[in-house]
Amino acid sequence: MGGEGLMAEPVLSISGIEKTFRGESESCPALSGVSFDIAAEEIICIMGPSGCGKSTLLRIIGGLEHEDKGSIHTRAEPLGEGVSAAMIFQDHALFPWLSVEENIIYGLRLSAQKVPDTEVHRRVDDLLSLIHLTSFARSLPHELSGGMKQRVSVARALAIRPSILLMDEPFSALDIFTRRELEDEILRIRQELKTTILMVTHNPEEAVYIADRIIILSERPGVVAGIVTVPLPHPRSPADPDFIRIREEVAGRVKGKNVVRCGIQHE
């Protein structure tokens, strides 16, 4: 947990985000005025019915889409590095021609990051041991299992020391055991690196298992329909009655008939 002063200074302030996708014949409102703050070292899960704009919101924060209205303020990192948000996708999105090590280094070799060589090597070594893949440094992604690939993807995002880690249903393609393992790993990484995490998920159990707060978006166009705080200490047990109660509450509030379908949105 973030400890004292958790809500004192938000790492990220999101206010009044609006987004409409416009195609040739139809226009499709995705978000209409989403606002919330994220505190340092907080893990926030975003949930909502399919097509409510969860991923769109994450992509806007990550700089892959542009909002029509509203603003996102990030607190400048003391390190003064150019990038402040790094994204992890559902499909690991590793470069298949680069080794594990080269994938992790990828962001650090771009001109946006001015990281000296010695620092690059130190970081990659640290990250490899953090994700327990030191012996796979020279393997290619296709030689790894799904869970290992997603861990590399996490390390690649962490390499640039982002002020916030954005995760778009990162574990939904994995089997249940690998998934729990990676959720624990995310909690451990937060503990070790003091990372702030914003994660989209459609799984209430996953959200209650790792999140400090769960933000529930309404149906399209998405607005914040509610915020559920999870006061349980880690490690949490899905069998705990309090856990079950919160999970059911969250599941009940995430409802959607999923009637509106838009062809013009991103995948």
Binding site: G63, V83, F89, A93, W97, G107, S111, A112
Partner: protein, 261 residues
């Protein structure tokens, strides 16, 4: 790597059996026909092949002629690659550039390179420059088309990862588009080398050339030396096969990741 599996041996054995069968049939036919101007016997062809350094028909040796052809083909091939790869990256990357260049490319592409020979001679004169032009033209389009396809096949997600890390446009091209398209570019190079090799032989057969395998075959034809023609054809086949094997080995070595996720 040294060990070849039994299955491979059996596979190669089957192919080898057919080759031996064809050679035996050829030799039998040659012995029956017994006319060098219709079908030279294998021993005569082999005789030319086994003395590659001896002057052939009073001219250069078989090796010297082969080297001339190889040099021409490599020069034309590299010129084509140097033009086609950057242009292909540009067309694949920018739909604007593609809109301008695609129709022209599609019209020029099906024209056989040899059809350009009269123009080539008019523009570059008889000799090496015309031959290089024809080779480069033949090699150009397969590389271009495959490069464009390779870029089109780049996953949007990879580009997004680069954008997330604030890569510049040039960095996106260098670190994602080029390496991601490289397997297809390699395929284009392999296909185009085969075409370039055919072009060189055809171009050398035209009047005005003085060396090369194509020249040797045509010269031997004029002198009725079919054994020399056969030997030239064998060399052409072996070099074509060797180049293809090299490209395939490169593919296995460098692009084992292709299509795997």
């Amino acid at each position: 790597m040294v060990l070849i599996s039994k299955q491979k041996v059996r596979e190669y054995g089957k192919g080898l059996a057919i080759i031996i069968l064809l050679l035996v049939a050829w030799q039998c036919a040659a012995l029956v026909i017994d006319n060098n101007y219709i079908l030279p016997s294998l021993t005569e062809i082999a005789d030319v092949l086994l003395h590659p350094l001896q002057p052939v028909l009073g001219g250069e040796s078989l090796i010297a002629n082969t080297m001339v052809s190889l040099k021409e083909v490599l020069t034309g091939f590299f010129c084509a690659a140097a033009l086609a790869i950057p242009l292909g990256l540009l067309i694949g990357w920018s739909s604007e550039v593609q809109a301008y260049l695609n129709p022209a490319t599609q019209i020029l592409r099906p024209i056989p390179p040899i059809a350009w020979m009269p123009f080539a001679i008019a523009w570059f004169g008889i000799g090496i420059n015309s031959i290089l032009f024809i080779i480069a033209l033949g090699a150009f389009f397969p590389i271009l088309i495959n490069t464009v396809d390779g870029v089109k096949g780049i996953r949007v997600r990879w580009i997004e990862v680069a954008e997330m890390f604030h890569a510049t446009t040039f960095e996106k091209l260098r670190t994602v588009v080029l390496p991601g398209a490289l397997p297809r570019i390699w395929t284009g190079l392999r296909v185009s080398f085969a075409i370039a090799w055919m072009c060189v032989v055809a171009a050398e057969m035209l009047p005005g050339t003085t060396a090369g395998l194509g020249f040797l075959i045509m010269y031997a034809y004029n002198l009725g030396q079919l054994d020399v023609i056969g030997a030239g054809m064998v060399v052409i086949g072996i070099i074509g096969l060797g180049a293809d094997m090299l490209f395939r080995a490169g593919q296995d070595r460098f692009f084992s990741w292709e299509g795997k996720d």
